[in-house]
Point group: D2
Chain length 337, copies 4
């Protein structure tokens, strides 16, 4: 790229903000010009390491005229306002999922977001994972014929703390939302959602009226069936698999292991060490790629990242799943409306 | 075993009948004394190879006093009457699944079957497959802690002919019924069924009002979630996998391959030949083991094979799935009633 | 086959004799007419189960006129005389490996064996193993281009008892001999042998002046290099792998597992149970196939089993390896002489 | 690390020099202060990207007083002089393998190198590969008991050009030298070398009197047997495997794949894309780790990288292999002398 560097403001310096800071630092086409966090110490620390001016107030970032784009990594309730402010300021925005936990708030921004002249991209990083991306490309290339079924198994190593879970919006809006977007990566037009939630191991989660375990069935407009299996824990590490089944065959992404080494003893053979524990490790590449493509989109004028509509669609599906899990009925959805 | 040989009458000499004939021939504790089939030529051919008297009329077998047990491998509509006749004759019976496609007919025999002094066993051979059996035993031994989720992927290499499909009772009663029984092997008390069916590739199946593809979610009484994925075709061969997920880990049965040989070229690596095509090959061991355990049950007086109630339960679940697929609602079931 | 049954005499009723008895019993084209063993109780027991007359004297078998073929499963020192007697009697013979531990004795029979009108087949059953056979066929079909390298890893679960080891002829003549034949299955014209033996774990074996561990390099006439790695023990079970490497790719046979089930815990993932322990289990199919092909050879007049020359070649290679291990020099061999 | 940055001079800016430049740039404890190459354009280009003064003369680097250490990535014939100059200048040195192709030249530097107060490290990066390193650590931790056998399979995707091959010193000094060092990583005291070379596919290599294919057997002082299999080509990509076999089990490193995605069709199942093609990709991590540990060694005063003696030992083994391949005799070596 011969274009001049894209000036970025990073809004939010928590765990995800730090991930983005690293991606920004590694990207030769980007300059970190601003770091904002109401927790000003966090902003100072990150700026000291990766550069940029510091502020506690995002408004200062938008007003500065020194950013071409912002990455929103602040708490969920701030997302709608920050996306809106970015659009007003004529600044591109990459916002972490979800847009909001309340579909009404999301819809209040919808028209504006879709009419924006600048890029409004949503951070569903898994689309950029090497494995899932490869399957997507090979399915698109017709390698397995017509896509008929998609099986997603997605289990976390262990649940987050109760504090986090309380404001998470429930398993479907917080965890499955990634799988809803993954489903839509392959089958954009989902028309029906059925979800079953269960409480199998966590009293904390149960006490919140939430589920620790779920199985979801989606139907696509071309009769594709998608099966999603979730659990908030998995003894053997982060369990992230995907299987695309088509008329001519299947493509399967197994878990990413930190090693190829296998152990053989008198008790077991072919045994590997458990899978990668943290989602930041597991999806390190996809976070970097997500930012790189966002920057590329700014420079070329062609955004390939998930859009505001993608972010909204995932929430619509999560809401439908939440309702279905309560009523025991499949819920029809029309994402085009 | 020092007991005298068990005298068997084989009723039905089609594809499955022939499988049982081989199991009988290989079992040193068994003697094939009668072979019955209205298609008398089939009976003659089998008897010539494996022994036994020949008749077109099963009643003759029961009246002969020369059988201790019968294996029912005749068409589904004959099953209820033959089980009933076996009970009346004081003869043990191993009947192929399903008992019947009509739950009313099944229920008409229920009290009698459950009160029978002789063994009434149902031919859900997959319980005896080495892989699934091993997982079951290891789950029971507590190796993965508390069972929380069960994932069954079951795809046929290709659909049967339209003639067969027309009288099959539909995908849930004909194909998924095996998976319902497998689910109950691990989670006997299923309380809820949701099913989504789809038409993805077969105009024949669609024209019958049936599905070629399905995803089913079951809930157990202890909040276990079971996910079943079915397709009537799979380019790469018979796809039969099972995954038991528990609080301490998981056990996974991958497909049985005819070979361990892997190919490495400039296009692909680690490639094996497609999986076993035919269910008779894939489940050859389990058919043999099923018969052996039936015989052992007769000799020891302790039946370990699936029972009439198991056969009924699978049909109840299939009926619930059929209803759910139509209504889009999860259907509650109480298998104990 | 519509030919009449081949009448077989089984000479020797030890462990291998019993294996052959089972293969004979399962083969519809064969009738076991005689069982001979100096340990007459062994012969009686086998005959009681599988049929045939009993004798302590093999000569009686040859004189009877009641056998078309014999299977020689008696101790190695008897092999040369029994093959010779079989030829004299005009009886086909399938003799267990090795022909003899003494190349002079083997050579004394060579001309006669090669001139025999009847089949003289050697029991290198591994050629009939499904995996190795498949690789051989695919190499022959040109799937990996020109064969350049062959890697054989062959480890026993544990060493035999000292009594057996004392008369075994040493690791190269007793254990590696199978691998020499396997090498020749792919590269018939071996021209050079280098062997390194080592004592790593067994004082018993060391005290016999034998090795418990060995690495052998063979060179074929077309510059193929063969690497053989042996150990008399392997904690994880019988380790039998083969890798054919060619100009266009490779074919690899991994170990045969009794199960596809994999365990996932917080300590390990993808772990299977150890491999099959006993060579009789591991090579059950190949023993059966070996006998079936011997019988087919008799019926069709076309022998496809390893020949007397194959048996001799393996011993020549074993002798060369024994010499090489002592001298530290590669030993040239000319198997055609 | 709170120590001040280590100032590095990079000598040589070819393919490997560029790899080291990246590792230097990524390491926060290092500053690139000088870049030297007689091909001055190469030096200029690298310095423009990664910093540092430029010179065509390494002597200027040593005289500058502005380097604490040098990385030698220039052609092999310059290595001995540059190591010597580094020692004279009191500068730490990480030198690419081999030290030299002529053992006499290596030995002329030996006493000086071993007496050096500064670190003289050799660039056998594979010791730092994640897989091989893990196996080494687990063997050291006793996980497989006593190490008895080591199997190394090492095949390049394709041969280098004839220009390179002409000055490479032959397969053993150029390619196998990595495997000799890997062998010594596990079995430092090698006492015997046997090598068989072969010409299977390359007329170019043959015309140079070199081999395109080799099998090597090493013996350790504790009777460990090491088997190395090499080829200058592999259709399926870079083939780098290692198997450590011990009294209690085995540890096996399979190839590193760029993807976990597997394809299933009617022709093949479980097929992955070919392995990583280039050694720079395959060993990217190990190159970075090698430099990081070299820097850490400088800062802590404790070198853990391979030493001059390790570099010499690998060449001694390569020479012994070259001799053995010609004479057909195992060659005794004493690396301690």
């Amino acid at each position: 790229m011969s274009e001049k560097k894209v000036r970025i403001g990073l809004l939010g310096t928590g765990r995800i903000g730090q991930v983005h800071a690293i991606s920004i630092a590694e990207n030769p086409n980007v300059e970190l010009t601003y770091v904002a966090d109401v927790f000003i110490e966090g902003a100072k620390k990150l700026a000291a390491q990766y550069g940029g001016k510091v502020t506690a107030d995002p408004a200062e970032v938008f007003a500065s005229g020194e950013v071409d784009a912002v990455v929103v990594a602040s708490p969920t309730p701030t997302h709608v306002d920050l996306i809106s402010a970015a659009i007003d300021a004529g600044v591109h925005v990459l916002c972490e999922k979800p847009i909001d936990l309340d579909i009404a708030r999301v819809d209040s921004l919808r028209a504006k977001a879709n009419a924006a002249k600048t890029i409004v991209a949503l951070g569903f990083n898994r689309r950029f994972d090497q494995q899932f991306n490869e399957i997507h490309a090979r399915v698109a290339a017709g390698e397995i014929g017509n896509l008929e079924q998609l099986t997603i198994i997605s289990r976390d190593p262990g649940p987050a703390g109760k504090d986090y879970l309380e404001v998470s919006g429930g398993i479907f809006r917080d965890m499955t939302i990634h799988d809803f977007d993954m489903a839509r990566f392959f089958v954009p037009e989902i028309v029906e959602v059925y979800a079953a939630g269960a409480n199998t191991f966590s009293e904390d989660i149960k006490s919140l009226g939430d589920y620790d375990s779920a199985v979801v069935t989606l139907r696509g407009s071309k009769n594709e069936l998608v099966s999603i299996t979730n659990s908030r824990h998995a003894a053997y590490g982060y369990d992230q698999r995907l299987e695309a089944f088509g008329s001519k065959g299947a493509l399967l992404a197994t878990n990413v292991s930190p090693t190829t080494v296998k152990l053989y003893t008198n008790e077991i053979v072919e045994a590997r060490k458990p899978y990668l524990e943290l989602f930041l490790e597991r999806y390190a590449f996809s976070y970097r790629r997500e930012l790189a493509l966002f920057i590329e989109g700014i420079q070329t004028g062609k955004n390939v990242n998930p859009t505001f509509e993608d972010g909204r669609a995932a929430l619509v599906l999560a809401d439908a799943a939440t309702e279905s899990a309560k009523t025991g009925k499949a819920v029809k959805v029309d994402l085009s409306k």
